[in-house]
Symmetry: C2
Subunit: 317 residues, 2 copies
């Protein structure tokens, strides 16, 4: 199956060239106050300012632009309750092809609106993993569309890896990169890119305590699931993919966890100090810097802020 082989650094380089016109080169921000607070020199890579408000635009667009014309004509499909659905719809609209997005009936209205705004075709299903998978199967059967998984896809991983490539072009001599982990697409891409460019860079993954399957899998050397999930970081509730875990075991230095209370604190610090609207999942990396200061003290740290799609009517404080 397409996309189930780990991407190489060259695939990430190719992805960056491929998606260049369709996504933003996001800025890097600094804050004196937050540097003092963290005891490190923090460089925030601002993917909340990316198209669709999240880094997911990169992987989705790379997948869509990697299709042959013949494949593309049949459209793309996925199931998603979050940013990947909107990202795939955006990417498909750039290529002028249909995007079928299977969404659970309880998905937030704001997420449905985002998919619809990009011309995505929404297929509603029951809010269970089984119903989502079955819904997607049905769509694929009827349309012949290309499935684009949110993270278990080498084209998607390569696309997400462009975040780190860009960051390392923007900031010289980073000592460490902090990046959140959910399904592991961003983390896998980041690790491949960063370690190729500079093998001395430490790659630290940060995961919410209430969905710590990657932390446990990494410690045991064997893929673990989540019996239950309980975190405010809704984008990181997914479990690590197998393909992603293989890459992560090879290239990532450490995985640490953070409690939800600190995720909320990090979020408020970003909002008040940098005036940036970032979502809970989006600041988990920065929460990791605050929770584990000994790993970052006095170092030049790239901190990937992954998204900024928040329901302003349901803030966590």
């Amino acid at each position: 199956m397409t996309g189930q082989i780990a991407p190489q650094y060259q695939d990430i380089e190719a992805a960056l060239a491929r998606i260049a016109g369709g996504v933003h080169q996001t800025p890097v921000m600094q804050s004196h106050l937050l540097n003092e607070h963290a005891g490190a020199e923090v460089f925030f890579k601002c993917e909340h300012l990316q198209r669709v408000g999240a880094f997911k635009a990169r992987g989705a667009l790379n997948a869509v632009l990697s299709l042959s014309d013949e494949e593309a004509a049949r459209g793309v499909a996925t199931h998603s309750s979050g940013n990947h659905g909107a990202a795939l719809a955006m990417a498909a609209s750039q290529r002028g092809i249909p995007a079928h997005i299977v969404m659970p009936s309880n998905a937030p209205q704001v997420k449905k609106d985002a998919v619809a705004a990009y011309g995505g075709l929404i297929i509603e299903c029951e809010p269970t993993q089984q119903a989502r998978a079955a819904g997607l199967e049905l769509v694929l059967e009827h349309t012949g569309a290309n499935a684009v998984h949110p993270f278990m896809d080498s084209r998607v991983i390569a696309g997400q890896g462009t975040v780190a490539m860009e960051l390392l072009q923007q900031v010289a001599e980073l000592d460490v990169i902090a990046v959140p982990v959910g399904g592991g697409g961003l983390l896998a891409g980041t690790a491949i890119a960063a370690k190729h460019i500079n093998p001395k860079i430490e790659v630290i993954a940060v995961e919410p305590e209430g969905a710590d399957d990657a932390f446990r899998s990494f410690g045991l050397g064997e893929l673990q699931g989540n019996a239950s999930v309980n975190t405010i970081a809704d984008g990181l509730r997914t479990s690590l993919g197998e393909l992603n875990f293989d890459i992560i075991r090879k290239h990532v230095d450490t995985i640490v966890t953070v409690p939800d209370a600190l995720i909320i604190e990090a979020m408020k610090l970003m909002w008040t100090r940098t005036k940036q609207v970032v979502e809970p999942s989006g600041v988990v990396s920065f929460a990791g810097v605050l929770e584990h200061p000994e790993r970052f003290r006095g170092r030049r740290a790239g901190v990937v802020i992954t998204g900024g799609n928040v329901d302003l009517d349901a803030l966590p404080w």
Copy 2:
């Protein structure tokens, strides 16, 4: 009295050079979605990313750096419940001189904290205009400090005028600039700078309906007060200064008003679409574009976003 003469364009040029090392050159942002929404090409000048989270840093620093060494040694003083107090404390700390800030006892804790964080000396008073003025008089008597008024001061007006100078260096061929008006410091500085650089640029001031003294004064050609004030835009509740009104009458094209409901809508649009935390007073200019689309349609519009200091625990929705 120092500072009661209208500044010239040359004073704004001098201010920009004087404050260059101590304040940020803030970025200009664009949003395709908001351009479509507004029907204009909008260039947001991001003063919420300024030091102390507001353009007030510019005027305060220009005033402090304009003092002779002998004057400076006696420190500076003002009364303020808002951003000017923090800005003056920040400016004074840069020159290593004391800042005495008279604050009403009901000023938000977050504002007091900001003043204290910059080493400002807080003198608490009863929350009335009389008590504030009397408190400041007492401080001036005892310390010999230099009073720096938040807007009726030519050094402050010149400092605020650097926002427009910078914007016009960053963006070519603007047709119109939208800027909020409260006391009129920013508006006066903007109008002097913009009209000198390009007399064809239209300068449109925007004021909350619930504090529309500038709108009425401009219409009648005579300075009017506010019998009562009722707006969410707390930074614009002040009445227009006399010095400022003289400048505004001469250089400003139009003053329009906006209802609070639209200020809140503009705020939510900025938060969700651009991921920027801006305060109610900070988006009044953009609300003006939404309320009066016929004035902006199809034009290149500079829209000054003035500040981002919001109490996250008391949002207006």
